[in-house]
Amino acid sequence: MPLAGLIRSALPLGLMLLILTLQGCDHWPADPRDSLTTAIERGTLKVGVVANPPWVKITDPEAPTGLESQLITEFARELGMTVDWRTGGVEEQIEALKSFELDLLIGGFTAANPWKAEVGNTFPYYTERVLIGSRGTPPSAIDGQTIAILPDTNLAPQLRKHNAISEIHETLADSPNPVATAQWRLSGMGFASSSLELLKHKHVLLTPPGENALLMELERFLFRNRNQQQLATRLWQEAQP
């Protein structure tokens, strides 16, 4: 059979070629634009930040805080780099990332972001679950109940779907009613959480499109730092004023 013969002769040749090329490069997969190698040689990682507490807080544009800013600082330190922070609007930052002006972009992005096909997304390193909780035993159903929520959330329509009434409070800690908020906040406040899940946000970090060596390196870092319990505690700490 000519096909089998073809495969027999092509296979060792292909393997040899592959090994030869693999020896010639530092990273597998490689960066088409060499973002990782260039950043390490330069000694700085160019990181775009978009304010989105507690993921990214920009009180001082020279040194942003928040969970993701901290993670990136640790990542850069592990590779012997400092971080060159760049602040700006979301679209402007996405454009900069797409044209390889930035090495990374953080800002509490989730896997549902509208640019997911245009830039690189890490795997979801933290899954934020928005749950119903309360002091004491949490309710198993919220039909017709009043639920306390924080201002600036999109929870009111979600609660309406469950036939619950939402009430906006500046703080939730002293609420007599059940509350709806992220699980990390519930456990931070010492509330018990129910299994009633309103929303689920899978958090990702963004990399330049196709810079796979950088993406893989960052993901390897995230593999080591994705203990959900620890991240929840850190988020609670970052959320404190």
Partner: protein
């Protein structure tokens, strides 16, 4: 003489046909497993997306074939005096046109991602958002290697059956299966290219795959169109004429009372019908009976010949 008679395959062909039908079901099953595997691993690779589309298209010929097998069994009836044997050709033409359109869409899609200089991002493998510590590209290559094997084996098994049963749909299917490994290979090269840092490798591989789909589609459209246009009977593989006209003439001219013969044949799906014009020696007493005998004799010359009409004429001009 019965005007509307059904056609039954000879017993040995019937056995082959049953085997073919079983093979086509197996084919559909493997296509399904391949589609699921490729879908779960594809990530953001353009070449993987095109490979997935191609694997989806691989459902079309077996599905058309199996459907047509049900339809064509029906005997001719009052509304359809010529029977249903051509249903398969019509279904095949429709499927082939769909494949061409899809090939065009795939080509435009890959070309545009090449022109827009889209850099595919491939990180660690994730299955339903759960990450694993392995580059997703390796998993994709694994899936593609799996996608290579069953179609090639099945294609080689279907090819002789297509020839023996004179099924052009089956032949097209087998041919597509046999060539399928090349598209998987192209996708593998594309992914290895990404690994080496050539962002364009993926889109180029995707374009190659879509060109192959387009080529398949065009071949099938041509074949189906010519058959529907009553092209003379040809071999399922290639366009060589079957030579049944000569065979009929040779056999009939051996009869002492036949002075001249010419026939006009066409394919009606897997069977072949048409007219035989004969010049009988003068002095025939029972022309009607003789003509029937000639028709029966001609039909025995090949298993595909069916429902031949014999027309006595005065002279045949050439």
């Amino acid at each position: 003489m019965k005007v509307r008679q059904g056609y039954d395959l000879p017993p040995d062909k019937e056995r082959l046909l049953r085997r073919t039908i079983r093979l086509e079901w197996i084919s559909m099953f493997f296509s399904l497993t391949i589609v699921i595997t490729v879908y779960l691993t594809m990530g953001s690779s353009q070449a993987m997306k095109m490979a997935l589309f191609e694997d989806l298209l691989a459902f079309v010929p077996p599905a058309v074939f199996l459907l047509a097998m049900r339809v064509r069994k029906r005997s001719p009836d009052e509304k359809h005096p010529y029977g249903y044997s051509r249903a398969i050709l019509l279904a095949f033409l429709a499927a082939a046109v769909a494949i061409v359109m899809f090939g065009l869409f795939m080509l435009v899609d890959s070309a545009s991602s090449l022109l827009k200089r889209e850099h595919p991002s491939i990180g660690h493998f994730q299955l339903f958002d759960w990450p694993y510590e392995i580059w997703a590209g390796w998993i994709m290559i694994g899936a593609l290697v799996y996608a290579m094997i069953p179609p090639v084996v099945l294609g080689h098994m279907k090819m002789p059956l297509a020839k023996a049963l004179h099924e052009s749909t089956l032949y097209a299917d087998a041919d597509m299966n046999k060539a399928d490994w090349m598209t998987s290979a192209a996708a593998i090269v594309g992914i290895l290219g990404i690994g080496l840092g050539f962002w364009w490798a993926d889109a180029v591989a995707a374009a190659v795959i879509s060109l192959d789909v387009l080529k398949d589609g065009v071949t099938h459209v041509r074949k189906a169109m010519f058959n529907l246009m009553d092209q003379r009977p040809t071999e399922t593989v290639g366009d060589k004429p079957l030579g049944l006209e000569e065979k009929i003439a040779e056999s009939l001219l051996r009869e002492p009372d036949i002075e001249d013969v010419v026939s006009r044949l066409r394919e009606e799906g897997h069977v072949i019908g048409g007219e035989i014009f004969v010049v009988l020696a003068p002095g025939q007493t029972n022309v009607a009976r003789r003509v029937q005998e000639i028709a029966e004799q001609a039909c025995t010359l090949d298993w595909r010949l069916y429902d031949l009409i014999v027309m006595p004429v005065e002279t045949i001009e050439r």
